[in-house]
Amino acid sequence: MGDFLQQLVGYFNPYYLQIIVNIGIGIILALGLNVVTGLTGQLSLGHAAFMSIGAFTSALLTIKLGMPFSVNLILTGFITAGVAALIGLPILRLTGDYLAICTLGFAEIVKVVFLNLDITNRALGLTVPAANTTIPMPVVVWVVVLLTIICVTFIHNSRFGRALMAVRGDEIAAEAMGINVTLYKVQSFAIGAFIAGVGGGLYAHFMSYINPSDFGFLKSVDILSMIVLGGLGSITGSVIGAGILSAAPEFLRFMANYRMLVYGGLLVCMMIFRPNGLMGRISFADLVLRTLGRKPHLKTIMEQKIMESSRPGNGDT
């Protein structure tokens, strides 16, 4: 099985494979943040910190223990989620922008601590050996992408997901309905971190070199841009947004030095012309129903109504 896949992957141009893997990892990270920010409505500006924790944990598990990659990734996810739960318990009591700056601060602290620890090789960064598996990385990454999409879809449509959406809509009302707001927030934070940790582990083994500075504020912003561009709370949107923004630097490569200039301008223009993201809260299934002339799900309509009423400037904000 492993040999066959290796051969199959060998037919592809390595450069395109790299782009495809980058897109896959982008999608995983975006889906993780989408649970926290899109579904539960908690703005996090430090998602890259969990990616960083995952990347270093996973790399160290391979280096020190030589663990099989599948066990490694799962363990990494749980460790990252554990850290997130510990951090989340105190800071998720904060609301709105105070929470955002706290997550940002946490990410900076993680970065600086990793830059000063011996086990993470300080500012030199870690060279990561090949993953302990025969299956080629691109296949692993995309299998994880599919698993993540399936899990996140289940979360969206479950009792748990509806509770998270209730928290997003109105915390007080949710609490009055018997939802333990803090518990659900911490759980969604941990799930987001789990996914980010796995994404980080994949990133570490794919890039084979990681440095704490790679997971700074700009990385967090990258991930956030993906889900806002795609449309907050929409799984399809997250996938599309992550796809576009992960591939954009490659497609803009011909502009050489102007690349980041255009990227910055692109973010502004996209927000101005599609302020609610490319997909808004429309899911792929609804899109198909719409083109067939049927009405979208009632749930979607309700969500759009909630979304509109919660914008600042309308109502009593």
Binding site: T37, L43, P90, I91, R93, L94, T95, G96, D97, Y98, A100, I101, C102, L104, G105, F106, E108, I109, K111, V112, V113, L115, N116, I172, A173, F217, L218, V221, L224, S225, V228, L229, L232, N257, Y258, M260, L261, Y263, G264, G265, L266, L267, V268, M271, I272, P275, N276, G277, M307, R311, P312, G313, N314, D316
Partner: protein, 291 residues
């Protein structure tokens, strides 16, 4: 030693405070975290450098030029990148601000190169004054003095002028202020102008203090200033001043007692700890929720 470090901390902290004021004023009025603000500070430092090195003007005139250029830049950014998004979700405006920030820092890198540049020699004659055991440079005193003057001027504008009254009204309630005949767009532009001017002054002063101006100086300074604004209670002008000074002093103290490699984490650690005890910052208003 203690006195020396205190002065160092206050000098650094007052520059944080100058930047933090821009964050807090903009947030107070349109609840936008203006992530491009750090880049305006960077542009201010570059304009000051250009004015002293190429135009060979006096330091104070260079600072005025930098403030003027940044006022125009700040108002322009608000006009093209934030105003179209005022009615849409706040996250969209946030991403737009981040886009502007990436754009400006890349532009600066292309125009001025990736290396840090210093101000020309003798722009401001630096002398060391010895008070007791402490050695204080005239530059530090200048920074503290200019920051103090600017902050007093700001307090005057906000509390004693008509436009200041309009600003306070708008930050109290955007819609009602508009109904009362306040030209809200003008007030917002004015707020951006004020904030950008202060950031530019901060940029020139920091450029002189560390004698290094680079395209990426805006990112960390901006994040720390934002932390300072939140620490003081975002939206509160005295809060931003207090937060900036507090962060500057603790950062210098942390470096002095041997945490120099953790320098960038100190500010954020203080922030997280304070927020856990006081969730809306030191001088922030309590968030009241109507059910």
């Amino acid at each position: 030693m203690f006195f020396q470090q205190l002065i160092n901390g206050i000098a650094l902290g007052s520059t944080y405070a100058l930047i933090a004021l821009g964050y807090t004023m903009v947030y107070g009025i349109i609840t936008l975290i203006n992530f491009a603000h750090g880049e305006i500070y960077m542009v201010g430092a570059f304009v000051g450098l250009f004015a002293t090195a190429v135009l060979k003007v006096n330091f104070f005139i260079a600072m005025l030029i930098a403030m003027l250029v940044c006022v125009l830049l700040g108002v322009f950014i608000e006009r093209i990148a934030y105003r179209p998004l005022r009615k849409s979700s706040r996250l969209s405006a946030l991403i737009s601000a981040i886009g502007v920030s990436i754009f400006l820092s890349t532009l600066a890198q292309m125009l001025f190169g990736a290396n840090a540049k210093g101000y020309p020699e003798g722009v401001f004659p630096v002398k060391q004054i010895t008070i007791g055991s402490a050695e204080i440079s005239t530059l530090q005193l200048l920074i503290i003095a200019i920051s103090a003057i600017l902050m007093i001027a700001l307090e005057f504008i906000v509390h004693k002028t008509k436009i200041g009254k309009a600003m306070r009204a708008t930050s109290e309630d955007y819609n009602t202020a508009a109904l009362m005949g306040i030209n809200v767009n003008m007030v917002i532009s004015f707020t951006f102008a004020l904030g950008s001017a202060l950031a530019a002054a901060g940029g020139v002063l920091v450029g002189l203090l560390f004698n290094a101006v680079s395209f990426n100086m805006g990112l960390m300074a901006g994040l720390k200033a934002f932390a300072a604004a939140v620490l003081g209670g975002i939206g509160s002008i005295p809060g931003a001043m207090l937060g900036g000074l507090l962060l500057g002093v603790t950062e210098v103290a942390g470096v002095a007692i041997g945490f120099s490699s953790y320098r960038d984490a100190i500010a954020f650690a203080i922030l997280v700890l304070v927020l856990l005890v006081k969730p809306t910052g030191l001088l922030g208003r309590k968030i009241q929720k109507k059910v």
